[in-house]
């Protein structure tokens, strides 16, 4: 009898242990299992939009959180044959620069527009690192609507962070370069190369401007890495991390890592505005592209910026100060109150928090440790708030709005949760592998939504089924609603995510446009009714004004095209129903398909090279008769006299 009791007890406690294991991680998240916390049932929406940069893909992924489902990949700096971005005539100007048309870019840091330091969800901005540019994506249509080139910069890495009322979006250079550019020996870097920092004005309509209301600051030739704005009490200031204050120009991995401390540059942009008003700037001549997409004409146009106002901090006291920070800092993050500026020295074993209040006091009491190129360097101890001695290789810090900070450690491959003010470590969790960026929705604003933390890892290795030598990067989602972080999801990402932005879906989803109104279509080559479709020859140029509606093209038979012509197909989608796009592809055409949304017009150019009859068809499965949505173009020899003729059902289209 006694034996039986003992066995029962052992069995019961085993059962309890197993149950406890299955339920591990419960406690936070309302006692739900890990699966329940990450699972979004079929037909239900995610709670957050995640906007993850595509890095070397040049694009921006829209991911649902917590599910990790890919909702859309928005082309920004790289041509996209799926959406004809950068291939159709309307969006080619988006990729124009002072170096000409560039089909690719390296997109890094998304940042969502803010009002009063809180996310407002109007636009998301993202920088291009290689050929310095900033793009603006309109979150009512989830399309890139503006790209501005940044002159006097190279490697636009410390960008595109926004001030707390979206007054400015910033850009700073990762490379010191001769400024303005000129032919000179590279080994004369020291003192001669500069690091121009730009403040691009953002208008009420989101439009960026560098020429009239924006300005540039001629900073010393350090490498500027990351940035974040002051907020609340520190609004009016902007903080940039620098490395390579050694001013090395070769073998940087050694030569930029010798000094004990680099700097965080604190720029007082309100002061800059005063200096601009007082006329204390130089006007530099330059040339940069400014590409704007018009939602009503469905077309982008390029205009050219010719001038920029430049401020010289060595001559303008109070404009810039340097805060020392240990060992090649990467992330530069400001807590929700605006008091702490956290720099992460990536070759160190600690993250460093400086105090904004102490910084002001140190400036007032002139606690300087010398200067760099006329810019005062503040005393390290005088501005230091605390050091968080944690793991190896800190990169980035995000905040949950509950007084905690979360820092990624690349080398030790973990996330460390710590307390602002006491600097004590609360929790640490491994990531798989080598986490770079972190993101909490709103985690770098006055009002974070501290429910989830997304870790974006640089190394994927064995996390997913192997796909040859090249594998996608991995992201891991943590539930941070409890004391301890719990990993609840794990998914591959597109390209290489360098930072992300997140926002509650409720702030965006109801403003999402479903169709473009046909009546508002101001495209110069739009046709709005089948009777208006036509084919017009102008010398060797032929313009086809074509309509699309389930499930045919109007017209669908075209004759009179000749070898040597330049044929413009202007396709208007007559549909006015949600989710009924039509596609267009022409056999042998050296371009991408078109994917035309309801009410929109897009244009594709074709250079017919051989006589014959060449088919075109709809590439987007639009209805049960999609496969029937097709047509023919008859191409005759260069000298032939076949007249222009266009029909539908063998009738002229205007008879329909």
């Amino acid at each position: 009898m006694k034996k039986k009791t003992l066995i029962t007890i052992v069995a019961l406690s085993l059962l309890a242990a197993v149950a406890g294991f299955a339920n591990c991680g419960a406690g936070a998240g309302g006692g739900k299992s890990i699966a329940e916390r990450a699972f979004v049932p079929p037909g239900q929406y995610d709670e957050f939009y995640g906007m993850i940069s595509g890095g070397f893909s040049g694009q921006l992924s829209i991911i649902g959180l917590p599910s990790g489902r890919t909702l859309k990949v928005i082309p920004v700096f790289t041509q996209d044959g799926e959406k004809a971005y950068g291939y159709n005539e309307e969006t080619k100007p988006m990729l124009m620069t002072s170096h000409g048309f560039i089909p690719w870019g390296d997109s890094h840091h998304p940042d969502i527009s803010q009002t009063n330091g809180e996310l407002d969800g109007r636009w998301v901005f993202i920088n291009e690192n290689n050929t310095p540019r900033i793009a603006r994506i309109d979150l009512s249509i989830f399309e890139t609507v503006e790209i501005i080139e940044i002159p006097h910069a190279a490697g636009n890495h410390a960008s595109p962070y926004l001030t707390e009322n979206t007054e400015y979006v910033v850009a700073s250079t990762r490379f010191g370069i001769p400024t303005p550019q000129r032919d000179m020996p590279v080994n004369q870097y020291k003192g001669n190369f500069k690091g121009m920092t730009s403040f691009v004005k953002v208008g009420k309509d989101g439009r960026m401007d560098l020429e009239k209301e924006g300005f540039q600051i001629l900073m010393p030739g350090f490498d500027y890495d990351k940035a974040h704005p002051g907020r609340g009490k520190s609004h009016g200031w902007f903080f940039f991390t620098t490395y390579n204050v050694d001013e090395g120009h070769t073998l940087l991995e050694v030569n930029a890592s010798q000094k004990e401390k680099d700097y965080i540059a604190a720029i007082n942009w309100k002061k800059a505005e005063e200096y601009l008003k007082a006329g204390k700037f130089e006007t530099w001549n330059t040339n940069f592209a400014h590409n704007v997409y018009d939602e009503h004409t469905h077309m982008a146009t390029t205009s050219w910026g010719k001038k920029v106002r430049v401020l010289d901090p060595s001559k303008l006291p109070g404009l810039v100060y340097f805060l020392p920070i240990k060992k090649s800092p990467h992330g530069c993050d400001v807590d929700p109150t605006g008091e702490y500026i956290v720099g992460s020295g990536k070759l160190e074993a600690q993250a460093t928090a400086h105090s904004f209040t102490k910084m002001l006091k140190a400036i007032e009491e002139k606690k300087f440790d010398g200067e760099a190129y006329g810019i005062p360097v503040l005393n390290y101890e005088a501005v230091l708030a605390g050091e968080v001695k944690t793991g190896l290789g800190p990169l980035h810090t995000e905040f949950d709005g509950e007084g905690h900070a979360y820092t990624s450690f690349f080398i030790s491959s973990e996330i460390v949760k710590w307390k602002l003010g006491t600097w004590e470590v609360v929790d640490r969790k491994p990531t798989f592998y080598s986490v770079g960026h972190l993101m909490i929705p709103g985690g770098n604003s006055r009002k974070p939504f501290g429910k989830y933390l997304l870790a974006m890892n640089k190394i994927t290795k064995d996390r997913y089924l192997p796909t040859g030598p090249e594998v996608n990067h991995s992201a891991q989602l943590f539930d941070i609603s409890g004391e301890k972080m719990v990993m609840i999801n794990d998914f591959p990402t597109h390209g290489e995510p360098h930072y992300a932005a997140g926002i509650p879906a409720s702030k965006i989803k109801d403003r999402s446009v479903k169709i473009f109104k046909l009546e508002d279509n101001k495209h110069p080559y739009a046709v709005k009714t089948p009777e208006k479709t036509r084919v017009v020859r102008k010398g060797k140029e032929v313009h086809v004004y074509m309509g699309m509606i389930r499930s045919h093209f109007v017209p669908d038979v075209i004759e009179g095209i000749k070898v040597g012509d330049t044929v413009y197909f202007h396709l208007t989608n007559f549909e006015q129903d949600y989710d009924v796009p039509h596609g267009f592809a022409m056999m042998g055409q050296q371009s991408s398909e078109l994917l035309v949304m309801p009410g929109q017009t897009e244009t594709s150019v074709w250079y017919p090279k051989k006589p014959g009859v060449w088919p075109f068809y709809c590439t987007d499965f639009c209805s049960a008769l999609h496969q029937e949505m097709q047509g023919y173009v008859r191409v005759s020899a260069a000298g032939s006299n076949v007249p222009i003729k266009y029909t539908l059902d063998d009738d002229p289209v205007d008879v329909e």
Binding site: I515, K517, I549, R550, E575, Q576, D577, S623, A624, L625
Partner: protein, 220 residues
């Protein structure tokens, strides 16, 4: 509960009968004006629901036009696109009814007001009966239009369906109620304008009734 409601209603009725001349006139005149508001109100709504249309397509039928049920939803255009597959005609923008119906309502509204001013209970009943006849004609006309809309199909239609008897399938929505048509469920129900007409007619009948009841009491 039911009893107390009954008591309240009968009390109200007693009050109305107590001042039958005044109230009956008020009802006729108010009913006339009420009827005129239907010039701007939708009378009927037809909706089409399908898995691909989580927000159903729908149209509102007015005295003088057919409109999308939502703002900027392009329902009619989208219904026409769908219907072209089975060879149905487009939803008309012009119909003879659209020219006639508004005048019928204007005249009947004016007559109701006029009868209220005259104050003759037999005229009240007459007005109600004419309204009932006109309403029936209107509904029959609606049915006929729906029948034609659902059965007069293009012989070159892309999709041709046959019913179980081998006859060409019709796509007529119900006059009132819900019905499955291929992948759609069609819902057809009165909209606010119809209810206003019913209330207006009810006021006419009530005007007659309280006069009738009062006269009966006086005779007794």
């Amino acid at each position: 509960m039911l009893n107390s409601v009954k008591t309240i209603l009968s009390n109200i009725l007693q009050k109305l009968i107590g001042n039958d001349r005044m109230y009956s006139r008020v009802f006729m005149i108010a009913g006339g004006f009420l009827l005129l508001t239907t010039l701007w109100l939708p009378l009927w709504n037809i909706q089409l629901e399908a898995p691909q249309y989580p927000h159903p397509l729908g149209m509102n039928i007015y005295l003088d036009k057919i409109m999308d049920q939502g703002e900027d939803t392009h329902d009619i255009k989208n219904i026409n696109i769908l219907n072209h597959y089975v060879g149905m005609k487009e939803i008309p923008e012009h119909m003879a009814e659209f020219e006639i119906f508004p005048y019928v309502i204007m005249i009947m509204g004016a007559i109701s007001i006029l009868f209220g001013i005259i104050g003759n209970d037999k005229l009240y009943l007459l007005w109600f009966l004419i309204m009932a006849v006109l309403g029936s004609i209107g509904l029959y006309d609606f049915y006929k239009w729906e029948y034609d809309y659902g059965h007069d199909l293009d012989p070159n239609a892309i999709l041709k369906f046959k019913d179980e008897n081998g006859n060409p399938m019709g796509f007529q929505p119900p006059v009132i109620g819900s019905k499955t048509i291929l992948n759609f469920v069609a819902h057809s129900y009165p909209h606010i304008g119809s209810f206003v007409i019913f209330i207006s007619m009810g006021l006419g009948l009530l005007a007659f009734y309280i006069r009738y009841a009062a006269n009966k009491i006086k005779k007794a």
